[in-house]
């Protein structure tokens, strides 16, 4: 057998008291695509960060091409031909694609942008990319940025490419293109590692799968000899029934009536075009659509965070006069019982404050409650304890700044807090994005509980399977327009998928 491109032996890394990687053994081979599979917080990214020099391992050995190495910094990793494409792109926005190529390269000689452009074009041609070397990064779409990242690694002569959840931000078409490129690289003899928790991608693309569970390496499998069920079992450690509970709607009451809602963003682009729908208490309304089709603006518009035109009529629970809440301040809208738990792409951006601890973040919803001018610290602390407990948040304690937690755990805290406020209308976007299967189910159950309680739940989701199983009705957005509202019980994934692309308008990007 030929020597592995990279071999990891007993690699260990701890953060505080949390063990992110516990004696992991792994082998990466040339001419092969390895899928690194695991739930959130299972230590996939941490493990790869040790290869790319971002983290320094606490124990264990790394062998590259059979020789033991010490990777002390990203520059060491480059010298060994290891290139990692991070989930959050490492690009300098104000520089052009070509300028980003040469950052940190230890070549002698003058800066020759033209020559760099030529070399980039050659790489693009070889692997089937399309990128303009002179375009500034801030003018690029997400998929273009990712392409620049990949080209950058190839430009630097990376032989081992690590991609951290590369498809999370891509449309299906873009994903297909990426996969084609990765296959080209495999043909070229490069070693490719793709970090993911999407089983269909693993099955479609990879040659081998390594599974991590809670920081422990639990298995190596040949993709062709395994199946999704086996992988799921390995990943979660126990078999999970794929059925999401869906209770019957009990006497739905109209809570929100949205009419002619439109929104033009800062760049003058119409992102919402004449949206009409109703939301009922005791019902889960799903919103489907390709990322960036106006979901964000719609929710923010209702929550009073985004300027929109049209009317948003709210029917209060006490049966008093319905009123138009468009144009009211977010504070007024929250007082009506409309709660937004929006999980943005960067998770922390909205809703939580990274530098504050769990308890203080809980307080963001209740700081103005109570009569005395002093804040009540006890109730939020109890709530934080409760959320940590019920949603199984992995944290050293409730006095830890939120930014120190992993993405999935941050999300649990955000969703947990929003649900705790017992809202009349609960809006959640991407509530399970990046969460592991178990926690996702916890969240679904919480949504169902709210529905039973009589809240109108608006659930923006990405996973069509989940939408079809969880929601009573599904509103499909396409390019800022409603392309259809379907019944969740009778519709199929294919129908929704078709509606998502039926206008054929905007594709990709945000």
């Amino acid at each position: 057998m030929e020597t592995a491109a990279i071999q990891l032996k007993n690699l260990t890394k701890t953060f505080g008291s949390v063990v992110a990687n516990d004696k992991v053994n792994l082998e990466i081979r040339h001419g092969e695509i390895l899928a690194l599979l695991g739930e959130n917080g299972s230590g996939k990214t941490t493990l790869m960060n040790m290869l790319s020099g971002i983290y320094y391992p606490d124990g264990g050995e790394i062998f590259v091409n059979g020789k033991e190495v010490i990777i002390d910094s990203p520059s060491d990793a480059f010298d060994l031909g290891i290139g990692m494409i991070h989930q959050h792109f490492k690009l300098v926005e104000v520089l052009t694609a070509a300028e980003n190529m040469v950052l940190g390269i230890k070549e002698k000689g003058r800066l020759n942008i033209k020559a760099i452009g030529e070399k980039m074009r050659a790489i693009c041609e070889q692997y089937g990319f399309n990128i303009d070397p002179d375009k500034k990064i801030y003018d690029m779409s997400v998929s273009e940025k990712q392409t620049v990242e990949i080209v950058k690694m190839l430009y630097r002569g990376a032989e081992i490419l690590i991609l951290d959840e590369p498809t999370a931000v891509l449309t299906p078409q873009e994903t297909e293109k990426l996969f084609a490129v990765l296959r080209n690289m495999r043909k070229d003899g490069k070693a490719v590692v793709i970090i993911t928790h999407k089983l269909n991608e693993v099955m479609e693309l990879s040659d081998r799968v390594s599974v991590l569970r809670k920081g422990v390496h639990v298995g190596d499998l040949i993709t062709a000899e395994t199946n999704p069920q086996e992988l799921t079992n390995l990943m979660v450690g126990r078999s999970i029934t794929l059925n999401i509970e869906r209770t019957q709607c009990e006497n739905p009451v109209k809570r929100l009536e949205i009419r002619n809602l439109s929104c033009v963003n800062d760049d003058g682009v119409t992102v919402l075009d004449n949206i009409n729908f109703d939301a009922f208490g005791g019902e889960v309304l799903g919103i489907a659509g390709i990322s960036g089709c106006g979901q964000k603006e719609l929710l923010e518009g209702i929550a009073g965070l985004q300027k929109v035109s049209g009317s948003i009529i709210f029917y209060p629970v006490d049966g008093s006069e319905p009123q138009n809440i468009n144009g009211k301040s977010p504070m007024d809208i929250i007082k009506h019982g409309i709660s937004l738990s929006f999980v943005p792409e960067d998770r922390l951006g909205m809703g939580l404050i990274g530098n504050m601890d769990l308890a203080d973040n809980m307080m963001l919803r209740s700081y103005n409650k109570g009569k005395l001018p002093f804040v009540d610290k006890k109730t939020p602390a109890e709530l934080a304890e409760k959320v940590v407990d019920e949603l199984e948040v992995v944290t050293p304690g409730i006095n830890v700044p939120v930014r120190n937690l992993s993405g999935g755990n941050v999300q649990k805290i955000l969703v947990g807090r929003e649900i705790a406020s017992q809202p009349t209308v609960l809006m959640s976007a991407y509530a399970v994005r990046g969460l592991d299967i178990n926690t996702s189910y916890t969240i679904y159950n919480l949504m169902n509980e709210q529905k039973k309680r009589g809240a109108a739940v608006i659930y923006v989701g990405e996973d069509l399977d989940v939408l079809v199983e969880l929601c009573d009705r599904i509103l499909v957005l396409c390019g800022g327009k409603v392309s259809g509202i379907v019944d969740g019980r009778t519709t199929s994934k294919e129908e929704v998928g078709l509606l998502m692309t039926s206008h054929g308008g905007k594709k990709g990007g945000y």
Binding site: F15, M84, L91, V94, L95, G104, L111, K136
Partner: protein, 327 residues
């Protein structure tokens, strides 16, 4: 006509220390560090330059003006760099708050300058002053050329530091836009995490840029102390820097972090500062002119807010500490 000519010349002379301070701060800020200690570093540079040339003069019977100029520049640069080094250690290695550290450096530098300035004076028996040869080194224009009527006065009549400042601005602009090292430095200031992942030694870049930037600021101080344009050359005057450092910090924004624009901007601000002496308007108090630079800064800041394009913005990570393993 003569008044105008004198006004232009005086503007250039007043603009030069501002340009030094601005260039130093631009280099510093491009590494992502906001050093508010420009004023302090100017004090340190000024007093060290004066001390260097003064002791050189004392030690040698016939001082050479070229050697004197070199010693002045060398001492000023080194001493201001020492101030910047303290700042660097605190903000880069220890990741202290940059604003607070910068303000502390200004306080420290002001005290440092005045303290050693007074000591020099006391030791010299009253006040410290360098001789005519050394004064000339920091005042004289280019021989022969400066005697051409009008053009000579306008273009060749300045001391060497004026030309050095302009050359430095052009050099810095070229460095930032056309060299790999400059590109790397900008990456460090924009996104240290990206730079780090690209294998750029972030800490080293930050240290070098901040220290050299500080040294350049110090030259501005040297100029203020040694040049006679403001009436007192080569003498230590208590609190002589008097706000020039703060003006430089403002001009960095006014010039939108562009060294070439910095030449024009410091000239504008410099001319405003001496305008009342040449074209006095009786009903306007001269203090009003001192407000202009800050008004210009506010105007630029407002302009930046309304800009859609991402060019000419401050370095994205300006003022933020960087730690690789932070999550």
């Amino acid at each position: 006509m003569d008044t105008f000519l004198n006004f232009v010349v005086a503007s250039v002379l007043a603009a030069t220390p501002l340009l030094f301070g601005t260039l130093g701060e631009i280099l510093t800020e491009k590494s992502g560090h906001l050093n508010l200690g420009v004023e302090g570093m100017m004090f340190m540079g000024g007093v060290a330059g004066l001390a260097g040339t003064y002791y050189y003069e004392q030690a040698i019977s016939e001082p050479n003006k070229f050697v004197a100029a070199f010693i002045g520049v060398f001492c000023a640069f080194l001493c201001a760099m020492f101030g910047a080094l303290i700042y660097s250690f605190l903000t880069i290695t220890l990741r202290a708050n940059q604003n607070v550290t910068g303000l502390a450096l200004t306080t420290f530098g002001t005290g440092f300058g005045n303290f050693f300035g007074e000591i020099l004076g006391t030791a010299a028996g009253g006040y410290v002053s360098v001789g005519t040869v050394i004064k000339a080194a920091f005042d004289e224009g280019i021989p022969v050329l400066k005697d051409i009527p009008i053009i000579g006065k306008l273009l060749f009549g300045y001391n060497f530091m004026v030309y050095a400042a302009v050359a430095l601005a052009i050099l810095l602009s070229w460095f930032l836009s056309k060299t790999k090292t400059g590109l790397n430095l900008r990456a460090v200031g924009e996104s240290p995490a990206t730079a780090d992942a690209a294998g750029i030694p972030v800490t080293l870049y930050k240290y070098v840029a901040t220290c050299i930037g500080g040294g350049i600021c110090g030259l501005g101080g040297l100029y203020i102390v040694m040049n006679s344009a403001n009436g007192t050359g080569g003498v230590w005057v208590h609190n002589s820097i008097s706000g020039y450092g703060w003006l430089a910090v403002a001009i960095v924004i006014f010039a939108t972090w562009n060294p070439i624009k910095a030449i024009v901007c410091s000239l504008v601000i410099g001319s405003l500062s001496i305008l009342p002496y040449y074209y006095p308007i009786s009903f306007i108090p001269s203090a009003i002119y001192e407000i202009f630079p800050y008004l210009a800064t506010v105007a630029v800041l407002i302009m930046i807010i309304f800009r859609k394009k991402k060019n000419n913005l401050p370095p994205a990570s300006l003022g933020l500490a960087y730690f690789r393993e932070e999550r």
